[in-house]
C-alpha cells in the first residue's frame, strides 16, 4: 500500500471513530479540503499520522473540540455578494408577497450575518411580519454567536457598502448600535428569527419552507452528500419554493440536479420542480 493510500485509510478510520463516538459525520465531506484540515490538526497537535488522532478523539473531549474547531465554519458577512440580495428583491420578493405567511430557512447559517441581512431585506419590503426565519447550523458555538447578533465594528464599513450595493433603502446605521469596538444589531430584527442546531448530514425536514438559503455549504460536501442535502431541501420546500446557493455552487453535477429549475444562473437561484415520486 502506498503512503498516500495508507493515509486515506487512516482518515477513513478516524472519521468512522468520530461518527461512532461523537455522532458527527464528516465521511462525505469534500475530501481534499478535509485532508488539508486534518494535516493541519496533526501539525498543531504534534502528531504524525491521522491514526494517531483516533485515541485522543475517542477519550479526550478537548481533542475532539479542537478537531471540530478546524472543521468548516462558513465565513460570511452581511449582504455578502450584494447582487445576490438584489436578485432576491427582484425574483423572490414578488412571489413572497402573494403569501399571507411564509418560512425561510438559512441552512448552515454560521455566525448569522446573512440571516440578519435577510431580516433587514424583508423588513424593508414590508414583509417581515409575515415571515418566520429558521437559522440552523451544526456548530453550537457559531449559533450562539448568531443569536447574540454582535459583530466587530471593523466589518461595518464593508457591511454598509454591501448593504447599499444590494439595494438597501435606508442608512445601514439605522440597524445597529455601536459601542466597545462592536456593533449590536437592532433587537427588533430578531423578533421572527428561530435559531436551532440542525445537522444537514443526519437530520431531516422540520417545517415546510418557501425559501431555503444555503450558501457556501455545498462546496464542503462530496457529490453523495450534496445529493442527499438537495433531496432534503426538495422535500422541505413547498411547490414552487426557492433554493438559493452560493455564487460558485451548483447542483448540476449531482443526481439531484433534475429536482430544481435554475431561474438565475449567475446568482444561483433555483425553483423547486414537481417530480413524480
Amino acid at each position: 500500500m502506498t503512503p498516500l493510500a495508507l493515509e486515506e485509510l487512516e482518515i477513513d478510520l478516524l472519521l468512522e471513530a468520530i461518527q461512532r463516538r461523537h455522532g458527527y459525520d464528516f465521511r462525505h465531506y469534500a475530501r481534499a479540503s478535509l485532508k488539508r484540515r486534518i494535516r493541519h490538526r496533526l501539525t498543531s497537535a504534534g502528531l504524525e499520522r491521522p491514526s494517531d488522532l483516533i485515541g485522543p478523539i475517542l477519550r479526550d473531549e478537548k481533542s475532539f473540540s479542537d478537531f471540530l474547531a478546524d472543521m468548516p465554519v462558513t465565513v460570511t458577512e452581511m449582504f455578502r455578494d450584494p447582487s445576490f440580495f438584489g436578485a432576491i428583491r427582484q425574483r423572490i420578493v414578488p412571489v413572497l408577497r402573494t403569501y399571507p405567511f411564509f418560512n425561510v430557512w438559512h441552512a448552515g447559517c454560521a455566525t448569522g450575518e446573512e440571516v440578519y441581512s435577510m431580516a433587514i431585506l424583508l423588513e424593508e419590503e414590508g414583509l417581515y411580519d409575515r415571515a418566520r426565519i429558521y437559522a440552523t447550523d451544526l456548530d453550537a458555538r457559531a449559533l450562539a454567536h448568531a443569536r447574540e447578533g454582535i459583530y466587530p465594528l471593523a466589518g461595518v464599513r464593508d457591511f454598509t457598502r454591501n448593504y447599499q450595493a444590494g439595494g438597501g433603502r435606508r442608512a445601514f446605521s439605522d440597524y445597529y448600535h455601536a459601542g466597545y469596538g462592536a456593533v449590536k444589531l437592532d433587537g427588533r430584527l430578531a423578533r421572527n428569527l428561530t435559531f436551532a442546531q440542525h445537522n444537514l448530514v443526519t437530520d431531516g425536514v422540520f417545517a415546510e419552507m418557501h425559501v431555503v438559503v444555503c450558501r457556501n455549504v455545498f462546496i464542503y460536501f462530496d457529490r453523495t452528500l450534496q445529493t442527499r442535502v438537495a433531496n432534503l431541501f426538495h422535500e422541505s420546500l413547498c411547490a414552487g419554493g426557492f433554493l438559493c446557493l452560493g455564487s460558485k455552487e451548483s447542483i448540476r453535477f449531482t443526481t439531484a440536479g433534475a429536482l430544481f429549475e435554475s431561474i438565475d444562473e449567475r446568482e444561483k437561484l433555483f425553483r423547486r420542480r414537481r417530480v413524480a415520486a
Binding site: S33, Y220, K248, F253
Partner: protein, 198 residues
C-alpha cells in the same frame, strides 16, 4: 530530471501558479498549446474576488485551449484550462473532480497556489507537472516542493525573466526544480509534453 527527460515523462495534468505579472506570463505560456492538448491545465492566478470573467475572456482570446472558471464538483477534462475563481481555493479530488473552498487564505491568498499544488500532487503523484511563474510573495513554493516529493515534474520561471522575481526565488529557495526557464522555454516545454503525452 533534465529538461529533456521532463518533456518525455508521462503526465496527466499541468498546474500553474502566478501572481503579479501573471496574466501576461500565463497567456504567453499557454499561447502555443493546441486545442487537442491532451492534458487538463489548472491555473491559480492571484486576484480580487470580483474580476472574474474578464480574465477568462482574455486567456480564451490568446490560446486554443478551452478556458473556463472552475466549478465545484466539475469533472476534469483534457484540453481545458481551469481557472480558480477569485475568492475561492481550487482543489483536486481523488475522483478526478474539482472542488472549491472558502477555507482561510494561505499566505494571505485565496485562491492559493499551495492549495492547488498540494491537492493535485495527492491526486496525480508523479504524473503532475507544476509550474511557478512570476509573482510577489512566497505562495507556491511549499506546494511545488510537495509536487517534487510526490515524484512530479517541477518548473520555475527564471527569476531574471520574471516581472516579479520574488515568487520564483521563494520556490528556488524551497527546492531544486527540474528546470528553470524563461516564458518561451516553458511554453516550448509544455508543447513538447503535449506531443509526448498524446
Amino acid at each position: 530530471m533534465s529538461a529533456r527527460a521532463l518533456a518525455r515523462a508521462p503526465y496527466e495534468a499541468v498546474a500553474l501558479g502566478a501572481s503579479r505579472g501573471g496574466v501576461a506570463a500565463l497567456s504567453r505560456v499557454v499561447a502555443k498549446l493546441p486545442a487537442s492538448f491532451p492534458l487538463p491545465v489548472f491555473v491559480v492566478e492571484h486576484r480580487r474576488a470580483s474580476s472574474d470573467s474578464a480574465l477568462v475572456e482574455y486567456l480564451e482570446s490568446r490560446c486554443a485551449l478551452r478556458v473556463k472558471e472552475a466549478e465545484d464538483k466539475e469533472p476534469i477534462v483534457a484540453g481545458t484550462l481551469f481557472l480558480a475563481p477569485g475568492g475561492y481555493h481550487l482543489l483536486i479530488e481523488q475522483d478526478r473532480t474539482l472542488s472549491l473552498s472558502v477555507d482561510a487564505p494561505v499566505h494571505f491568498c485565496r485562491p492559493a497556489i499551495d492549495v492547488l499544488f498540494e491537492t493535485a500532487a495527492d491526486t496525480f503523484g508523479s504524473r503532475l507537472l507544476g509550474v511557478v511563474l512570476t509573482g510577489s510573495g512566497c505562495d507556491g513554493a511549499a506546494g511545488l516542493a510537495q509536487i517534487a516529493r510526490a515524484g512530479g515534474g517541477t518548473i520555475v520561471q527564471d527569476p531574471r525573466s520574471a516581472e516579479a522575481a520574488e515568487m520564483p526565488r521563494a520556490a528556488l529557495a524551497h527546492l531544486d526544480p527540474d528546470a528553470v526557464l524563461d516564458l518561451d522555454g516553458i511554453s516550448a516545454l509544455l508543447a513538447a509534453i503535449g506531443d509526448a503525452s498524446s
